[in-house]
């Protein structure tokens, strides 16, 4: 448990070492004009083999690290790779334009859709502008405004979730963070448009849920979705955020655990070694999956779809029901 100071990405070290050797050999081959391609091919094979081993047994905490990797493709990368002819629509028509949520019209697989995507930014400047992916109330209100537009004009909604959580600050509270999130959740539960959501990185609590009450909720293999951050959970349990790795296991926040609990509908596989190693391939996989899922939900009559969505959320939860006969009547 004393891994507070250990590098949580240690698990990737063997892979990085092999990759370094491959790079060295390639450079040698170029400069010395000596053919070592057989050796390089062998190393590639070994690298793949190691990656398969390592990535098939990641801990929850290791997955959280991958979900947060700054090199992992984000919403804007996917907009470039997957969504064609993107037409961004800004603003919530009430307060401002939150850069932590991007909304706009675009096409995928010949279908017109509305995209709502949480954005963390890549450069320091972008990341500051996006508050590191933590939206303010105006971001959530913007998302809802545009979803209403989609509802009115019959477009399906695709949302990409990637946030550590809704922004915890003075302005956010002054502008009603909780009330606005609640409103989004309620409105999405009955929105008369198909909704497909994918958690592409971090699915941080209410700030994530506020854009993913959906007909289908998918999650990438190395993403997570949780009621609280592992650090927050560890602080509460042990008053020590260094125990986050233990908390991550307890919270069952990994894709396959979420599938077992009935929280997500599908886990989308990532390229070998994670999305950050091959963003292009990740984009192809995600695009194919989005088209497949949209084909399924977009043909269901809207009344039935909304009813199905209601029933889906209505039945989530685990509890026991004790026979009424065994209970003493309570009155106050």
């Amino acid at each position: 448990m004393g891994d507070a100071k250990a590098d949580p990405r240690d698990f990737e070290k063997p892979i990085l070492e092999i990759e370094q050797r491959i790079a060295d050999l390639e450079s040698f081959q170029r400069k010395a004009s000596v053919d070592v391609s057989a050796e390089i091919a062998k190393l590639h094979e070994e690298c793949d083999q190691r990656m398969r081993e390592i990535y098939s047994q990641l801990t929850a905490w290791q997955r959280v690290q991958l979900a947060r990797d700054p090199n992992r493709p984000g919403s804007l990368d996917y907009i470039g790779m997957i969504f064609e002819d993107f037409l961004e629509l800004h603003g919530d028509k009430a307060y401002g334009d939150d850069k932590a949520i991007v909304t706009g019209l675009c096409r995928i697989g010949g279908r017109r859709i509305l995209l709502v995507a949480q954005r963390k930014g890549k450069t320091t400047k972008e990341r500051m502008a996006c508050n590191f992916g933590s939206p303010h109330p105006e971001g959530y209100r913007k998302a809802l405004e545009k979803m209403k537009l989609a509802e009115k004009f019959g477009l399906p909604v695709v949302t990409l979730v990637n946030t550590p959580g809704a922004y915890p600050g003075i302005g956010a509270e002054e502008r009603g963070q909780a009330v606005i999130i609640a409103r989004n959740i309620l409105e999405m539960s009955r929105l008369r448009a198909p909704i497909l959501s994918v958690v592409i990185g971090e699915g941080g609590s209410g700030g994530a849920l506020a854009i993913c009450v959906a007909d289908r909720l998918c999650i990438l293999e190395n993403a997570y979705f949780s009621v609280i951050s592992p650090e927050g959970c560890a602080s509460i349990l042990w008053r020590d955020s260094g125990k986050a790795s233990v908390a991550a296991e307890l919270l069952k926040l990994s894709p396959h655990d979420l599938l077992d609990l009935g929280i997500v509908d599908e886990v989308i596989p990532e390229p070998l070694g994670g999305a950050h190693r091959n963003p292009q391939r990740m984009g192809e996989i995600l695009k194919a999956k989005l088209i497949e899922q949209l084909d399924q939900i977009d043909r269901v009559p809207i009344d039935r779809l909304v009813e199905r969505r209601y029933r889906k959320y209505r039945q989530i939860g685990r509890y026991q029901e004790i026979e009424l006969a065994k209970l003493a009547p309570t009155q106050a």
Binding site: A166, P168, G169, I170, A172, E173, E174, R175, G176, Q177, A178, V179, I181, A182, R183, I185, L186, E187, S189, R190, S205, G206, L209, A210, V213, F225, S226, V227, I228, G232, C233, I236, L237, W238, L250, L251, K252, L253, L258, L261, I263, R309, Y310, Y313, R314, I316, G317, R318, Y319, Q320, E321, I322, E323, L324, L327, T330, Q331, A332
Partner: protein, 276 residues
């Protein structure tokens, strides 16, 4: 007097220490207990509203003997097998022993100044009133019942804990579940009055508690999304005085009215008279 009666009937549950005098946690003044009880557990010096037990809350708002509890047969389970310093099972057992309740929610039918309604509350003494599967399911059933019977709903929230960590994403999804049933209830024309009491935070305030057709708050309650300590740690500055109080929410336009406890029953009744 009435409080005494209820307390003797049901057993005093933790919220107030014994003795003739007690200390107000807000103004630190000494209060003569009897005077405070006559004022419905409100500090006579500073207007601080003490936590009420479910029994006291029901007595405050509903007609005498009119409340019948429903759905109290739901028992929480440890779906995640959550083993921390103390496990979820231990946490539940401790809270159950302390309160005599299965979970943090009460709901049922009753009358308020003669008008039938569905009434519910979260009990902030039970794991900080946090919402797990039992709380979410009970709220969903209460709103479905109210939709079928065309009854108004009055729900009193007191939840510092938000979505209950120990049930992981299952708790988070109770936000969607409760909100979805409220959407249907309101679409069918139902009136939902949400009463916010100290404290109502995080996943509870970001779902069912915020979704009333009318939001009523008790004075000086802590209401918001992120807890003040977490905000302070994030922004590294002190929070302004009165931040995230009922008065702060009123000023920023997020609650309809603040009502002091002695007037709460009458004001809720007036709302129902106007809107049904």
């Amino acid at each position: 007097m009435a409080f005494e009666k209820i307390r003797n009937l049901l057993g005093r549950k933790k919220s107030l220490p014994g003795g003739l005098w007690m200390k107000c946690p807000d103004c630190i003044g000494m209060i003569y207990r009897k005077e405070m009880e006559e004022r419905k557990l409100v500090c006579p010096a500073c207007n601080y509203h003490f936590t009420m037990t479910p029994q006291e809350r029901i007595h405050l708002l509903l007609d005498e003997e009119s409340f019948t509890r429903m759905w109290s047969n739901l028992e929480p389970v440890d779906a995640l097998n959550f083993e921390g310093v103390t496990s979820y099972k231990q946490k539940l057992e401790a809270a159950q022993k302390e309160t005599g309740e299965r979970d943090a929610v009460w709901a049922g039918v009753g009358r308020l100044e003669g008008r039938p309604l569905v009434f519910g509350l979260t009990d902030s003494r039970f794991m900080m009133g946090s919402m797990g599967s039992v709380v979410g399911e009970t709220i969903a059933r209460a709103f479905e019942f109210a939709t079928e019977r065309r009854l108004p709903v009055v729900f009193v929230s007191g939840s510092g804990g938000g979505a209950r960590m120990y049930e992981g994403a299952l708790s988070l999804m109770q936000m969607a579940k409760s909100s979805a049933t409220i959407a249907r209830f309101q679409e069918a024309g139902g009136l939902y009055i949400s009463v916010l009491t100290n404290p109502t935070m995080a996943g509870v305030m970001a779902s069912f508690a915020a979704l009333g057709d009318v939001l009523v708050a008790e004075p000086k309650a802590l209401i918001g999304f992120t807890g003040p300590r977490v905000i302070e740690q994030t922004i590294r500055q002190e929070l302004p005085k009165g931040f995230q109080t009922s008065e702060f929410l009123l000023e920023h336009g997020f609650v309809d009215l603040i009502v002091e406890r002695p007037k709460l029953r009458r004001e809720v009744a007036r709302l129902i008279e106007y809107l049904t």
